[in-house]
């Protein structure tokens, strides 16, 4: 009897295993890699500013309050998708929204900003992937959440969604602001 049920049990076990795999890949898509830099100091950088007359953009300027580093490019379709949400973040004055223009042509980037709107408080130009490489960037858009002490606390891979904002980003920013204030 038991010998007869064994194949069925094995089959059911396999079904459970495969379904768990599907569920897991929905929650944590395999192409979204976790950042190893979370909890580590954000790599410091000084890059030329992207905009006309924009001075050098240095990561040390943002110490003392939480900031977001949004990796974007004019060639990046996902950046257009998340742009309305990024604009909303750019309206905040309690955090800094820093754009990292990644592997892009300056003229294209400026045209993109003119067309869709420029939400950033500062934009660093990294056409040769010199700085983004240290952040482990492997695609655009990516968004790093960095606390007032300059530690990377979270990373979003791919376009930000309303759900990301409501569930993760906004509560985290509130927490970081509280940490910075105390």
């Amino acid at each position: 009897m038991i010998a007869r049920l064994l194949p069925l049990a094995a089959f059911l076990g396999l079904v459970v295993l495969l379904f768990a795999g599907i569920r897991l890949s929905e929650e944590r898509p395999p192409d979204r890699l976790p950042s190893v830099l979370i909890g580590k100091p954000a790599p410091s950088f000084t890059l030329p500013g992207l905009r006309e007359g924009e001075a050098e953009v240095s990561s040390s300027a943002f110490l003392g309050r939480p900031w977001l580093l949004n990796v974007w490019a004019s060639w990046c379709a996902g950046c257009r998708v998340e742009h309305p949400l990024v604009e909303r973040l750019g309206q905040r004055r309690d955090i800094a929204l820093v754009g990292l223009n990644w592997k892009d042509e300056r003229a294209d980037a400026l045209r993109w900003l003119a067309q869709f709107g420029d939400p950033y408080h500062a934009i660093a130009a990294d056409p040769d992937n010199r700085v983004a490489l240290h952040y482990g960037v492997y695609g655009a858009p990516e968004t790093f959440v960095i606390d007032a002490a300059g530690v990377i606390r979270h990373k979003f891979v791919g376009p930000l969604t309303e759900q990301d904002l409501q569930r993760t980003l906004l509560p985290l920013l509130a927490q970081l602001l509280a940490e910075a204030g105390s």
Binding site: R4, L6, P34, V36, K103, D128, L133, H134, G136, G139
Partner: protein
């Protein structure tokens, strides 16, 4: 040359051009350095295409990482240091051979365990059959098909 031949020749040239694009003109000092670079690039994963190594991939990110790899080798870093540099930024995922630790032991030993389990099953079944062949079968033969 006839027109179709000319088209073919142009196509062949274009394809050859694509294949050559994956090889950057890096200024290697000697063949040893080139060999080291190629060996390392073959062991590191391109993060964008995920199933290609840095050596195979023509993705712009892979090209950047090959440049970084070259500069690290030029700096006189050891293979271990180069790999550490990349894993500190991109995680263990860049390594085609993941390190042996608590999270990965089943990747390394899982297949061997499965083979052992299969062997054990076969041995048990064969022994039972042999024991059953001498004595009268306890169950109808069709049950043994499993």
């Amino acid at each position: 040359m006839s027109a179709p031949r000319r088209v073919l020749a142009a196509l062949a040239l274009a394809i050859a051009g694509l294949a050559a694009a994956a090889v950057d003109p890096l200024p290697f000092a000697d063949e040893t350095e080139r060999a080291r670079f190629n060996a390392l690039a073959a062991e590191l994963r391109c993060m964008v295409c995920q199933n290609q190594s840095l050596a195979d991939s023509d993705a712009p990110l892979a090209r950047d990482l090959r440049r970084e790899l070259f500069e690290l080798i030029r700096d006189g870093r050891s293979d271990t240091e180069v790999k550490a540099f990349l894993t500190e930024r991109y995680g263990d995922f860049v390594l085609y051979r993941p390190p042996l630790d608590r999270r990965t032991w089943w990747i390394w030993f899982g297949p061997a365990l499965l083979v052992l389990a299969g062997l054990a099953t076969v041995v048990v079944i064969v022994r039972r059959r042999r024991a059953g062949a001498g004595a009268a079968p306890l169950e109808p033969a069709k049950d043994e098909e499993w």
